[in-house]
Symmetry: C2
Subunit: 460 residues, 2 copies
């Protein structure tokens, strides 16, 4: 099976755990299967041990969960992430360097993105044009049955059942959040009669009576089919050409470019578990435990979830139907229903990014003053930063754990805990981690900005 | 007027803003009078400016408020704080170096503490033995009328109305939290008939019908009176002797040692505003604004108070009757009624102190790892740390703002933003702030502890 996972969106709806550069699919909130349940703390016991931290290896992200599930269902699956540049580091950090990534040079809506990823599969990965591919968002919360269904979807496309084969999700309630697919019959696989936009609840009920299904954005096609559409609409010749011209492409959705013009579409009914974890309300429903991170709830709390990425304890008393989420970006305390209206409030918070996962590890802002910033940098073993310089700030590194090497203006030297490295503005520098390495970076200058950075090639 | 302010207690009931070394009276939560109200943010406006930070000069602590009120009511008042060693730095930081402090070498209950402070007034400050003194807790929330009443109380004692003159607070409801004073008559000043322990509500109602008054722990006496009792009970000869023998004194309360044996006690009825801000519930009632620090409440929040000392925003949505308090010690989210049951939960949180006010400024823990701690140190202009060394840790200072001088193993050198100073274990060091000075301190070692500290004299 070939599968393209669409990894999009900046996702402010799960603030403060998601932000402009950490999308919700990267938050580690799901307990991995087969991890030791006896280590689970009793959240109601004030004297109890604090819960496992987020950094703990017993938790995985939506991305890691779905990737693990695909590989379990089909170890031979070719998985390609279709995403923007800003997510590449986090994807490599969470899935390793081996995963296929079709990087969109900029955002150009779903048709260019799917066309580019399909071209990547064919031209870069060498998948024959007559093979089918399944496109699926990266963030549904699903069980094994879903992946078996994806495989069936792929086989239907492979067999030429239709030019496009969609997954239709059997509705569990008359939702106003989804578009609906109306099939010609109520058979498991049927021709699509028509598509409907997000309805009100009464209309949704009518659709469901007609056998209507939720459109979860999951579909399959033969590679040749989408490449042909790309040839017509984007003058596609090959992947490299499409990639280089990407910023000139018109923004157009896959629905508008392809689906609306295609008479030969089938839909496969899926009745298994499928959840869209887009808000705190739905996300916390999928959590196995009420507490992630260091938090205590007193005995009068009811239906309270706490997700605490900070290194300080949270105490919740006498709350009902509340979610508390804390990270170095901020703290949310919300009634669960109300939490779905979060977006305009987060948009109004003008804030620098305080935490980021990079391909080499992660950084966290510890303190920001007018003319200085203090940052904790964690490099994974065997990784290094880009070789870079800044125009307008000096930096001081104090290594607090691990071993590695620094290169400063071409001079390499070994470093270990306790070593201090000072770098004036303009000086080129990097650090290479021979073991996991942590350092405290103090930035000093009148105009500290993430954009003040020049990158250089480094031969080592 | 001579006044002794009793500044006690570690106060975990207002966690996380109060802790083992920061008592509730030091938290800056009250808006100073005559500060610009137009700068006040609209907490319900998501696009509104963030509220003033705690560090802002427009806020004052309970201690600062009561001290300012005393000085406004009587600019000539001699104010002495009776307190333990751990509060001396914070008191000097908040009130300046000029305030009188009677430091208890250890905790020995209220009679030794009051005797020591009275001896301090007489023997150190030179107040004549026939002058009266008023004793008052540091943390009532009161207006000007209270201080006028304190002055009347002082005059009554000065005139010899009785050996002890108590303030009796006119009860506003049949509280079970206070002891009651039953006067012989309902006159403004009356002889005390008897004292009653904290009653149940029905009994409290009976006391109030009899003209009973709350005992708020406020009383006045002539210095000679308490010194005479100290002579009898503690073999007092002078302040220095009492101070040096303080740890050998028996723990005994002022009530038990003095009040219960004294037939000549008067009480003065006080009918003005008086609040005991001992819990989040009562404290938030006294706040002028719902938000202190960076927080936004959406329009569905009702009776929500947020006190945020952290440098990151808090967003509250759809909450009712909730207090949110956040500091570098932790985060409390509590139903206001429930918040009064906080103590056992806080006792169970085994935590290092993350923030402290010192006589020279303050420090804040930014990060704690197994073998390192990162701390932000702020020195007030003209102040310096103790000259000290550590056995088991190295330290690195990176100055991030301001100017000053470091002394390391006797060597003095000027420092400014960007300078880095490394200090190996065993090395003696201090920093002197010529302007307000901030530095990032990285501590490195296998056994980092606040107790690993040797202090030295420094001649400068």
């Amino acid at each position: 099976m070939n599968i393209i996972l669409l990894s999009g969106g900046s996702g402010k709806r799960l603030w403060p755990l998601s932000n402009d550069i950490r999308s919700k699919q990267f938050i580690k909130i799901f307990k991995k299967p087969n991890t030791d349940a006896s280590a689970s703390p009793n959240a109601n016991n004030p004297a109890g041990q604090k819960a496992a931290a987020f950094a703990d290896d017993t938790y995985e992200s939506m991305l890691q969960r779905v990737y693990r599930q695909i590989k379990a269902a089909d170890p031979e699956a070719t998985v390609t992430l279709a995403t923007g540049k800003s997510q590449v580091s986090a994807i490599h950090n969470q899935l390793g360097e081996g995963v296929g990534i079709s990087v969109e040079p900029c955002r150009r809506d779903t048709f260019p993105a799917i066309a580019l990823a399909t071209a990547y599969l064919h031209d870069v990965k060498g998948i024959p044009a007559d093979e089918a591919v399944v496109v699926c968002p990266v963030d549904p919360y699903v069980d094994e049955g879903y992946f078996a269904a994806l495989h069936q979807l792929w086989e239907l496309a492979q067999q030429g059942t239709a030019n496009l084969v969609l997954m239709g999700i059997h509705p569990t309630y008359p939702s106003e959040k989804y578009g609906y697919i109306i099939p010609e019959t109520k058979d498991t696989v049927a021709k699509v009669s028509t598509f409907k936009e997000k309805p009100d609840a009464a209309t949704a009920r009518q659709y469901i009576d007609q056998g209507g299904l939720w459109n979860g954005g999951v579909f399959a096609y033969k590679i040749s089919y989408v490449l042909e559409r790309a040839r017509q609409l984007l003058a596609y010749t090959d992947y490299a050409d499409l990639f280089s011209r990407y910023d000139t492409l018109t923004k157009i959705s896959f629905d508008y470019a392809v689906v609306e013009h295609e008479p030969d579409i089938a839909v496969m009914r899926f009745t298994g578990e499928w959840k869209d974890l887009g808000t705190w309300n739905t996300l916390t429903e999928a959590m196995e435990e009420n507490v992630l991170g260091d938090a205590r709830l007193n005995e009068t709390c009811r239906n309270v979830h706490v997700l605490n990425e900070l290194g300080i304890p949270i105490l919740a008393m006498g709350l009902q139907d509340v979610v508390i989420a804390a990270s170095s970006e901020g703290i949310l305390v919300a009634d669960k229903e109300q939490s779905s209206y979060i977006k305009p409030f987060v948009d109004a918070i003008d804030q620098q990014v305080m935490f980021a996962e990079k391909s080499w590890g992660q950084y966290q802002v510890l303190d920001a003053e007018e003319n200085s910033m203090t940052i904790k940098v964690t490099l994974n073993s065997g990784h290094r930063m880009n070789y870079h310089s800044h125009d307008k700030r000096d930096e001081v590194w104090t290594v607090v754990s691990g071993k590695g090497r620094t290169i400063v203006d071409g001079m390499e030297q070994p470093v270990k805990a306790g070593d201090v490295i000072t770098m004036a503005a303009g000086c080129k520098h990097t650090v290479i981690a021979d073991t996991k390495l942590q350092l405290i970076e103090v930035q000093l200058g009148n105009d500290i900005s993430v954009n003040d950075k020049h990158k250089y090639e480094l031969e080592i």
